[in-house]
């Protein structure tokens, strides 16, 4: 008879951001252990609030399934002598399985014939399996930070208060630190402080609901959002959307109860980002706007307890915010007394990275690099704005406001630049050089910010790689992966045409004084190569999301120095690869590439000599190729890679006939080498778009 299983860890308030990952760990370990023990079960659900992490498994079988396994022993040769009698080896094998030698069989594997035996493994009772599985699950959660408590040596996110481990109506003996599992859980800390005895796992969600706890994370999130939106509507306002804040607040409460409060209207002259940040980062309040998205002097705070008199707690919420806004105003006013330009010098006292120097040095480097990029991308007209904005771009790091709210870097730079009378374009560029701040964020809208942003990130990438601190595994303290992706997104988004490798060279040239004493590990690639390889990796990951990996590799294999062109080649090739007649085409290309790869290196370089052709098919192919080459050249220069590919694929019949009728590996050396040179030229034509040999196609493989 199948029973349900409930595992609940009750703890003192667990940090909001820990809850979802912890539930995933708990569920994963439990499910893995059940699968390993062949214990069948139904649906697995998780529940989580600040005070509990729980898993409910429906319809758990009473025992694991029995299985019969085949166990391989020594090879048949070793196990039986010439007469076919079992040897010592066979006897020992049988003995180890507690079988008689007669019960042994033989199994043929790829490596030869072996003695084998069929062994039956009984499934263990569910209680035993689950007791181990639950022990592993509660000890197997990996928290970002964990702690010991009381006099126990176990660690958890916060002290564990109770455990529930119920299989049907049976309590299972699980222990964590100083807590033993039972059937007692607890509801809302204040609204339902008493113990709740659970009869059966299936009662869990309803019992908690009754005790004022919405245990299901998704349900609680939906309820929070519904209530918050309703409160906003009732106040004649709109919620400023913030998914991250919704997620966080969901896991700060067991029962969301929003209240609408207000702050003094005079504070609305502070930059909206400052107001939103003040409300959000310390207080976790939601901001409200009017129908046009303009901030209102109102907020929504979400309480964990529906208090008796809302006005009383509201007074508290408002008082705290008023104090915070007063502080914010103090910083805003103080900061504006010193022009941004006067702060630049102070950056010389802020270390960016030990070996790579201060922020002032970094600013000087990337200002020069941004100027270089403005020239390279044909934006020389932006040079003055780039120069000024780059100079001021990091000056807000030494303001009081950014000291208090690091998230406001760039925003405050923009505001203080405006207040100091800098041109709007400069102020905007200061803000936009940080864009995009994440995968979902917008790109810079103007060139100056985009170019400075590129230069700043290239300087970080090249500098950090050059001192041997490239990201490895999960460790990426300078967020270089994100920086690299941002560079790619900006270049593509703004359509900048320039040589990436030349920009990397320039960045490294500017960094050179800092790198004079850096010793590279033996066998380590030069920084330039490492950085470009890093770009290749990011491009593969980024483009691999929407295109076939082999197609991406085929395109990257012939270079990505001009990122915009590389992207266009990829798009054109992806379309072509999607067509059904591509496979035979790929086969033909692959033949060319294979021969060039195998034979090309033995052949001295030089031009094909059309005079040396003897057979019609090669003459025909040469004529077709010459025409195609000229056209491909025109198309490539016009970025029309689809047409270039069309020209190239048009060569297929001639290529096929060539291979059918012409013997490339002719006896005559001159003749042979001429043909190989010819194929090399054809290969080079293909390479203007992609390395077709990287494309995986069944027919291509057969060729």
């Amino acid at each position: 008879m199948a029973r349900d299983l409930l595992l609940e860890v009750g703890a003192e308030e667990i940090p909001a951001s820990f809850i979802v990952p912890a539930l995933e760990d708990l569920k994963r370990v439990l499910a893995e252990r059940m699968a390993d023990a062949r214990l069948k079960h139904g649906e697995v659900r998780t529940f989580g609030t600040p005070r509990r992490l729980a898993v409910l498994v429906r319809d758990v079988a009473d025992t694991g399934e029995d299985i019969t396994k085949e166990v391989l022993g020594p090879s048949a040769k070793a196990a039986f002598d010439a007469q076919g009698k079992p040897t010592k080896a066979a006897e020992k094998f049988a003995e180890s399985l507690k079988l008689s030698v007669d019960a042994l069989g033989r199994t043929t594997t790829a490596k030869g014939e072996y003695v084998s035996a069929r062994v039956e493994e009984k499934g263990r009772p569910a209680e035993a399996i689950l007791q181990d599985a639950m022990h592993a699950a509660v000890h197997g959660i990996s928290f970002k930070k964990s702690m010991r408590w009381g006099d126990v040596d176990t660690a958890f996110a916060r002290p564990v208060q109770w455990l529930v481990a119920l299989l049907g109506d049976t309590e299972l003996p699980v222990v964590l630190g100083d807590v033993k599992a039972g059937r007692t859980t607890y509801g809302h800390r204040f609204l339902a402080p008493g113990a709740i005895t659970l009869k059966a796992p299936a009662d869990y969600e309803a019992a908690l609901e009754k005790a004022h706890v919405v245990a299901d994370v998704a349900k609680r999130r939906a309820e929070l959002l519904r209530k918050v939106n309703a409160a906003a509507k009732a106040a004649g306002a709109q919620l400023l959307e913030d998914d991250g804040l919704v997620d966080q607040v969901t896991n700060l409460v067991e029962l969301p109860s929003p209240v609408v409060g207000s702050f003094e209207e005079r504070h609305l002259d502070l930059p909206p980002e400052v107001l939103v940040q003040e409300m959000k980062s310390h207080q976790r309040y939601f901001s409200l706007t009017d129908a046009n998205g303009k901030l209102l002097p109102r907020f929504i705070a979400v309480s964990n307890t529906p208090v008796r008199d809302e006005q009383l707690s509201l007074r508290g919420y408002q008082r705290v915010l008023a104090a915070r806004l007063a502080d914010g105003r103090f910083f805003f006013d103080e900061d504006r007394r010193t022009p941004l330009a006067d702060r630049v010098e102070k950056l010389g006292r802020v270390v960016w990275q030990g070996q790579l120097g201060t922020y002032l040095e970094k600013v000087e480097r990337f200002r020069a690099l941004a100027g270089f990029l403005a020239q390279a991308t044909g934006r020389a007209g932006e040079a003055a704005t780039v120069e000024r904005a780059a100079t001021l771009s990091k000056a807000d790091l030494v303001t009081g406001m950014v000291g208090e709210f690091p998230e406001l870097q760039g925003v405050m730079g923009r505001e203080y630049a405006k207040a100091g009378g800098e041109p709007d374009a400069v102020a905007l560029a200061i803000f936009e050089h940080y864009l995009p701040r994440g995968a979902e964020d917008a790109l810079p809208s103007q060139d100056a910010g985009a170019l400075i942003g590129l230069a700043d990130r290239l300087d970080s990438l090249c500098g950090i790689f050059a001192i041997g601190k490239a990201p490895s595994g999960a460790a990426d303290p300078f967020a270089l992966r994100r920086a690299c992706l941002s560079i790619i997104r900006i270049v593509l988004g703004r359509g900048y045409r320039f040589s990436l490798s030349a920009a990397v060279d320039e960045a490294l040239r500017l960094l050179a004084p800092k790198l004079a004493n850096v010793k590279r590990k033996p066998g380590e690639a030069a920084p330039r190569e490492q950085v470009l390889e890093f770009f290749r990796g990011r491009l593969k990951a980024l483009w691999g999301e929407q295109h076939r990996t082999d197609v991406v590799e085929a395109v990257l294999a012939v270079g990505f120095d001009d990122l915009v062109a590389a992207k266009k080649r990829l798009e054109a090739l992806s379309v072509l690869v999607g067509h059904s007649d591509f496979q035979p085409l790929a086969a033909a290309f692959k033949r060319v590439v294979n021969i060039v790869e195998k034979q090309g290196k033995d052949v001295a370089g030089g031009q094909t000599n059309p005079q040396r052709f003897t057979d019609e098919p090669e003459k025909n192919l040469h004529t077709a190729f010459t025409q195609a080459r000229d056209k491909v050249g025109v198309h490539v220069r016009a970025d029309d890679f689809a047409s270039a590919l069309k020209e190239i694929t048009g060569l297929k019949p001639a290529v096929d006939t060539f291979f059918d009728k012409v013997m490339v590996m002719a006896e005559d050396k001159d003749l042979r080498e001429n043909r190989i040179r010819f194929l090399t030229e054809i290969g080079a034509l293909f390479n203007q778009v992609a390395d077709f040999s990287k494309i995986q196609a069944e027919t291509a493989a057969a060729a």
Binding site: E13, D151, D153
Partner: protein, 330 residues
């Protein structure tokens, strides 16, 4: 409730649980944590349950008596419970009820907050406790102090007395707090705030303070060598306060800052070690008392964390200890 009654109520509550009520430590500190009643007593296997008010000086928070919330000197009500009782949250919430903060009338919440003191080589995990969005208490489970593991773990409750009473008296300005009937915080401390802020931010003599810092540091090290960790710790505290004064004056550059903090921390570590050696020499006398506060559940898996001290070697000569200590603290 008057300010004074808040203090008396908290004292009575924790005394009733079995805490000893000590008086404020008598040298300048930036927080109740720095008093030896917390920093040193959190170390080692002995039980320790204490409550005290600690005037806490934060020179860089001085606002000349003009800011309604920030003060050069505020008051913390500090509670240390070691080992942390199983029901410490309940005991704490009971104290809030007693001062008139009913959790059914106010939104009381435990919001994640990791505490770390680079100058003390100490860290812990816990929460800031919110009452209607305002932080009223810092609640920390100590994990390390002076670079040593805290086994067993102490619970530290630091009530911000001014904030609590502002909420209870419903006043917007700290100087409007009624200390006792007819006497406001303004009358008691405003002039002090003005003068102390002027001193810390404008008038202090950095040259003298640098000289004092060096002298205090040297004296601390000398006393450690003389096996006198208690007076040595006083000098470590004086170093810390002198550093805070220099910092408030803007006399320490960004690059020098880290180095000063390290110098304070190194001394705090030596004091922690000296204190542990002293307690070990004395045979950890408090372990022989039946002193507990709150619920003490049995350890069900593994060994008690406090057994750790049975295997730690603390009795080597001080000169050699420095190296082993660094290795262990690293």
């Amino acid at each position: 409730m008057y300010f004074q009654d808040l203090i008396l109520t908290l004292q009575k509550h924790w005394a009733d649980q079995g805490c000893i009520v000590t008086q404020s430590y008598d040298t300048e500190v930036g927080a109740g944590t720095m008093a030896p009643y917390t920093f040193l007593r959190a170390l080692g296997p002995e039980p320790w349950n204490v409550a005290y008010v600690q005037p806490s000086r934060r020179p860089s928070d001085g606002r000349f008596g003009e800011n309604p919330n920030r003060l050069f000197q505020h008051h913390q009500f500090q509670v240390i419970l070691k080992p942390a009782p199983k029901n410490v949250q309940e005991l704490y919430l009971e104290s809030l009820r007693k001062v008139g903060m009913d959790p059914l009338e106010h939104d009381i919440r435990f919001v994640e907050d990791d505490w770390e003191s680079p100058t003390l080589g100490a860290w812990g995990l816990g929460w800031e406790v919110w009452c209607d969005g305002m932080e009223v208490t810092q609640f920390t489970y100590f994990q390390q102090c002076g670079g040593f593991d805290c086994r067993p773990v102490s619970a530290e409750l630091t009530y911000g007395l001014e904030r609590l009473i502002m909420n209870l008296q419903n006043v917007e300005n700290v100087y409007d707090i009624e200390w006792v009937k007819g006497v406001k915080y303004r009358e008691v401390f405003h002039a002090n705030e003005v003068e102390m802020s002027k001193y810390a931010l404008h008038e202090s003599d950095p040259q003298m303070l640098f000289t004092l810092f060096d002298a205090y540091e040297k004296e601390c090290k000398r006393l450690i060598e003389r096996h006198l960790p208690m007076p040595a710790y006083d000098y470590a505290l004086k170093c810390s306060h002198t550093f805070n004064l220099l910092d408030a004056r803007g006399a320490i550059s960004v690059t020098e800052r880290a180095n000063f903090i390290k110098r304070v921390r190194d001394n705090a570590r030596l004091c922690a070690e000296g204190y542990l050696q002293m307690r070990e020499r004395l045979g950890y006398p408090l372990t022989k008392t039946p002193w507990t506060v709150g619920e003490q559940p049995p350890v069900l898996e593994g060994k008690p964390a406090s057994d750790y001290w049975k295997t730690v070697q603390l009795n080597k000569p001080v000169e050699k200890k420095e190296k082993t200590e660094v290795a262990r603290g690293a």
